[in-house]
């Protein structure tokens, strides 16, 4: 999902503790999707409470977020609003892909192929209204601010960076760079000791920082041209051109300078939607200045009644998460010495 810039990007590894004091605007949908994909039982089944309701997202949201907060990070979860019309087709396709994966998953389970079952199950994960509502409720109990985007969450998060309200957008997707976010933080949702898919091997995953200006400088292009590269490869709003990957797209954009010029070539005829319309989504996205960011104290009683009372979480583990939230809240007002570097 999102635009696949993989090969082109220059990344820098950081450790969680280096993010102390940093405000991070989290692409909430992306995180929830990751939690629903990764946090699974061994056969691929989602975590569920005694009434059979899915709890993988709540588990991820609670335990991972309390780790961020303990490390002194200030998270803001930014939720999607209405998708741009051009995205509807992508949304439909994802639905089909999930339905197909769900069927494969069932089949693999029946045939006893556990690893396959897990693989397909991960693809079947979906973020629906219930997941979003429960997540917002949990974050509220934890004292973590949520922002409702009018359109795409990543666009709103990037906008908040540009207004100086946050340091980085956290997402696995690269789209926020196209939306103009100066800093992208990847791997935050999966930081720590993680199992490699399909193997019994564990690796240590660290967050990665991608700086838009360094990235553009390394490619010797402007942000508008990065958007054009994305459109050539394919975004959530258009298919992209068959046979054009990141390297070829970069070459084309450098050769022709802009999408307008590319449209005059043979490639121009291959787009199924107007690339200039797609470009508008990235360059003039639907965002708002009306949001409030405030980190509060966690409310242990509400957290326990929601997670342990309603959803059968272990009291002991939830308490250790609450302890992290409390200690993080206490550290929150600590400034960094870098603030005084000239």
């Amino acid at each position: 999902m999102g635009v696949q810039l993989g090969d082109l990007v220059t990344k820098q590894k950081v450790e969680l503790e280096e993010l102390q004091g940093k405000v991070v605007a989290i692409d909430a949908m992306n995180f929830l999707y990751q939690f629903l994909s990764i946090i699974r039982q061994r056969d691929g089944e989602l975590l569920r409470d005694s009434k059979g309701r899915i709890t993988s997202h709540l588990s991820g949201l609670f335990y991972r977020t309390s780790n961020f907060i303990e490390a002194g990070i200030r998270p803001i979860y930014v939720f999607d609003g209405k998708p741009p019309i051009l995205k509807l087709r992508t949304v439909r396709k994802r639905k089909q892909a999930r339905a197909a994966a769900a069927a494969e998953w069932k089949k693999a389970l029946e045939e006893g192929r556990v690893e396959d079952a897990r693989k397909y199950a991960q693809r079947a994960g979906r973020v629906d209204e219930t997941v979003v509502d429960q997540s917002k409720k949990l974050l509220d109990c934890m004292g973590v601010p949520c922002v409702q985007a009018p359109g795409e969450g990543e666009a709103q998060a990037s906008h908040m960076l540009l207004r100086g309200d946050a340091w980085a957008v956290a997402s696995q997707d690269f789209d926020s760079l196209l939306f103009g976010a100066p800093t992208l933080l990847r791997n935050l949702a999966i930081t720590g000791r993680r199992k490699l898919p399909g193997k019994d091997v564990f690796v240590h995953v660290s967050p990665e920082v991608i700086k838009l200006d360094e990235f553009l400088r390394s490619l010797e292009i402007k942000r508008e041209q990065l958007v054009d590269i994305g459109i050539l490869i394919g975004t959530d709003y258009n298919e992209g051109i068959k046979g054009i990957g990141p390297k070829k797209a970069l070459e084309l954009v450098k050769k022709h300078g802009s999408m307008e010029e590319i449209l005059k070539t043979e490639i121009g005829k291959k787009f199924e939607v107007d690339p200039l319309e797609v470009r508008k989504i990235f360059l003039t996205p639907d965002t708002t200045d009306k949001y409030e960011i405030k980190w509060g104290e966690p409310d242990p009683e509400r957290i326990k009644s929601f997670l342990c009372g309603e959803h059968d979480f272990s009291e002991e583990r939830v308490q250790s998460g609450i302890d992290k939230l409390v200690s993080g809240a206490a550290k929150r007002n600590q400034s960094s010495i870098e603030k005084w570097f000239g």
């Binding site: 400034s335 005084w340 570097f341």
Partner: protein
Amino acid sequence: MVKARMSDSKIWKTCVGSMVNLIEEAAFKFTPDGIKMKAMDPSHIALVDLDLPSGAFEEYSVKESKVLGINLVEMDRVLSRAKVGDELGMELDEKQNRLMINFKGASARKLSLPLINIDERDLPDPKIPFSAEIDVIAGVIQDGLKDAELVTDNVQFLVDKDSFAMKAEGDKGTSDLKLSKGDEALVKLDVNQPARAMFNINYLSDMMKGVGSSDVVKIRLGSDLPVQIDFQVSKGRLRFLLAPRIEAE
């Protein structure tokens, strides 16, 4: 060639002992004029700045500047082997990429430390408009911290024309330490503008750990600004800067 010798190992031991609680690894610059080191703790809350001129050593010979990456935890362990009054020698073994540490007392002992690779990043000098200078006996600050530690995680430093105070307030109670002009432990009080700022007690305690309780520390303060704490070590100085906690933003 990098070679240095001091007649009392305690000086270097105190330096390392004071830094090791904040930073694990450090890039020491051995220049012809002396040893310099500047580093932040991993959370970027504190900055350590060591300046030990060649005059602090009985023998010091560094032809051209060299940066030696040292694991402070390991060095601290090696230095813990020094006996009181031992002479200390340090010498770079370029072939083996090691730092040789020699103790000379009842016997001559040699230990060596592998050097490590550290990304050398030149940190800027923070610009801080301090409004007060306080020179005070270290033991007083250490006591104030121990009192405050009983009740909470943070302590407030307050200074006005006539006094310096450390106050803490938490669920478990309060603590209050006051030094007034004329008190023997208050060596100097020079206040342009009254100031108050809040700091994490753990960090302050770590910084004050290595210093002797009768030594004088030089404190610089400003409202909601970092605190600067200087210790004199032989003919050089060890400086700590600690960023404040700022309650309302």
